[in-house]
Assembly symmetry: C2
Homo-oligomer: 146 residues x 2
């Protein structure tokens, strides 16, 4: 996926985030690598092309991006926090065998009215997580009950 850096800069500015080169790089990485990477994965990959990048900056940047809604933080993997540059409404599936996290489409315009009772709560965000076995791991295991 080829992303225009200028577009990313503008997107950050629209959210009131000063678009430093490193911040743009992190945002770009998340959009180009929609695999829900951990902080360490982001750092290790970007560090190759930007040797002066520190992990602290990756942490700082992600905190800002998440705080401004430019990026989602996923609490699906009990080992690490994961980050998602795709912020449109969707759910996630984590494979208990290979650990990969998959995006799962939510029906257009779907909300949880009628399925849950949220009376009295001022809801700001919703996350729907699934776990189990992905197609590949499931077939490798011979379709036997896991």
């Amino acid at each position: 996926m080829i992303i225009n850096e200028l577009e990313i800069k503008r997107g950050l500015q629209n959210r009131g985030i000063r678009p430093s080169n490193k911040r743009v790089a992190v945002m770009k990485y998340l959009i180009e690598n929609p695999v829900h990477p951990t902080v360490d994965e982001i750092y290790r990959d970007l560090h190759k092309s930007i040797p002066s990048l520190s992990k602290t900056t990756v942490y700082n940047t992600l905190k800002i991006l998440v705080g401004n809604g430019a990026v989602l933080s996923l609490l699906i993997d009990d080992k690490n926090c994961r980050y998602d540059g795709f912020t449109h409404s969707h759910a996630h599936f984590i494979c208990n065998s290979c650990g990969k996290i998959f995006d799962v489409g939510l029906k257009e315009g779907y909300n949880f009215n009628g399925t849950v009772d949220l009376k009295g709560f001022n809801v700001k965000s919703a996350h729907l997580y699934f776990s189990g076995y992905c197609e590949l791991c499931n077939s490798l295991a011979g379709n036997c009950e896991q």
Copy 2:
């Protein structure tokens, strides 16, 4: 809530978990304190009545209970893992202000068929998390947009 220890013992045995006193105590605590406590909260409270209890044992026990489905682990609070002894299908809401976690009822028999596309996935569990402001925090803030 008064829980029969014998009942808990039988419940653990039915899941193949040897019901030592400390394991029963942890399970009982989770059922009697459905506030989604952290490991540290469980440890600190139980330690008062069972001074010989160690945090290692709390960790060990929770791992076994979660592994056997007797307890749910909740990844809703980015600081700590939380535990829930109530394993029937329900969703959770975390208040961004006070940090409390609330159980949210799911419509009886509800599943996500039709709302999400899980073709190819062998789904073993689903978690639905909401965040925002609870009724009390919302009213204290004067109902202004948070």
